[in-house]
């Protein structure tokens, strides 16, 4: 995906020069390897800073919320779906946006690479022909990118942007015959007691830093429920019940909106598999309401509409 970089630079510079946009939101190379940082570029000369490779897992849609200027933005499959969600939730107007679509082959799970590199310090990582070449002190190792994808990217069904004004390259083939909800089904098959054990263990390292919330483009309430105090819905301690309440409600707020972009998991400093919560809601939204988030600007989201003959079996 490195090859998109030049094209992105060129498009950003052109748009800024022509005055079509006020700012361009993309990525620039981060100060540590395998960590690109979001960049907001306002001048054509600065467009050279822009960069793109398989470490652009931060969801740029986060930076669009309630902006009033004209924006150019780089968007791969999931980011574009979040932009659609933003548009239907009136957080941004389509007319303000110039979307530079990036067909995506998945982001790298840098934690997995670090583990495979046996926790030696990574000084440089380069992407070439589907391989990640990682350099440490006196060592160099090559990894196949497809074996080190972020977990959400490995089961991604929408790699190509759903809306865009311009593409930086040919569309990539979508992944076929892949079971997207395998992990959810595995948990569903468990007994309640085991499920509780699984989730309690899973979130036990949580330090309640709210990085998952902040990284999520869906979380834009002016006052988050965790900050509400009268009544206080969830305590601020790392009491296991409070932590569980936080995770359940955080996930529930994403019901029918989550695009499975993986930003929450990527942001989590403790490596918690947060998508296990949202994935279940995605599965239910698909099965009960035939809904996948962010695919259409015309349809209202599932929690905003109803059908007379909706799923009713759980009601007495």
């Amino acid at each position: 995906m490195r090859e998109y970089t030049e094209k992105i630079k060129e498009i950003a510079a052109r748009l800024l020069k022509e005055g079509k946009i006020d700012v361009f939101i993309g990525f620039k190379k981060g100060s540590v390897p395998m960590m690109n940082e979001p960049a907001i570029v306002a001048a054509a000369e600065k467009a050279n800073e822009l960069f793109w490779d398989s470490n652009c897992g931060v969801n740029l849609c986060n930076y669009l919320t309630k902006r009033t200027d004209r924006i150019g933005i780089v968007a791969n499959g999931c980011t574009s779906r979040n932009i659609v969600t933003h548009i239907i939730e009136n957080q941004i107007k389509r007319e303000q946006l110039y979307i530079v679509g990036v067909p995506c082959t998945g982001m790298i799970d840098q934690r997995a690479i670090k583990r495979a590199f046996k926790d030696k310090e990574i000084l440089e990582a380069e992407e070439k022909d589907g391989q990640i070449i990682v350099k440490g002190k006196d060592v160099e190792e090559a990894f196949e990118k497809k074996d080190f994808l972020q977990r959400n990217c490995a089961v991604c069904l929408h790699r190509n942007p759903v809306i865009y004004d311009e593409l930086v390259g040919e569309k990539v083939p979508e992944q076929q015959d892949m079971e997207a909800f395998k992990d959810v089904k595995k948990i569903e098959a468990m007994e309640s007691e085991d499920k509780w054990g699984f989730f309690t263990r899973m979130i036990s390292p949580c330090i309640r830093c709210y990085a998952c919330r902040n990284a999520c483009p869906l979380c834009y309430c002016t006052t988050c429920f965790v900050d509400e105090s009268q009544p206080q819905w969830v305590g601020k301690s790392i009491d296991p019940t409070d932590t569980m309440t936080f995770h359940i409600l955080r996930a529930y707020h994403c019901a029918g909106r989550c695009t499975d972009c993986g930003a929450c998991e990527r942001a989590c400093p403790m490596g918690i598999n947060l998508r296990q919560f949202t994935k279940k809601l995605n599965k239910d939204a698909l099965e009960l309401f035939a809904w996948e988030a962010g695919l259409s600007e015309e349809q209202r989201p599932p929690m905003d509409v109803y059908k007379v003959d909706d799923y009713n079996d759980f009601v007495k």
């Binding site: 309640s192 499920k195 529930y252 929690m303 759980f314």
Partner: protein, 143 residues
């Protein structure tokens, strides 16, 4: 264990199920006394936060009851509520809350017999599960 009486937080819609409970009482229908009834203006008023709060505070079961689809006093509140609860129930049961703890029903204000029947059913299911063990905030709330 047989003496144990569950606490079931019950949210009843003012326009129907609350009336049904009233009618069941006036009609002297018997049903178990485990329910702590909270009157709400509509089943859609019940936020998932309420249900979580009830469980956090030690409720052994939660029951939400509203008007039949199509009969909402606010025309469509219960349709939205139904979607909301379908996903919530799925999520809570996915993380390990036992299926018998969360109950939803549609009961009109004339259906006092249905109210008593559903109450008996809910009570029996919650009682069979025993006291809630998970998702209870044991420590005092600190603001």
């Amino acid at each position: 264990m047989n003496d144990w009486q569950p606490k079931i937080t019950t949210f009843l819609c003012n326009w129907c199920s609350y009336g049904a409970a009233d009618l069941a009482g006036v009609s002297r229908f018997q049903y178990p006394p485990y329910f702590r009834i909270i009157r709400v203006p509509c089943s859609a008023r019940v936020s998932p936060k309420f249900i979580l709060a009830a469980l956090r505070h030690g409720a052994d079961g939660v029951w939400v009851s509203g008007c039949h689809p199509g009969d909402c006093h606010y025309l469509e509140g219960n349709y939205y509520a139904r979607r909301k609860f379908a996903l919530l129930k799925g999520l809570l049961e996915h993380v390990g809350i036992e299926p018998g703890r969360l109950h939803f029903s549609w009961i009109s204000s004339a259906e006092a017999t249905k109210f008593a029947d559903v109450a008996k059913g809910v009570a029996a299911e919650v009682k069979a599960l025993g006291p809630a063990r998970h998702f209870i905030k044991a420590r005092a709330e600190v603001a």
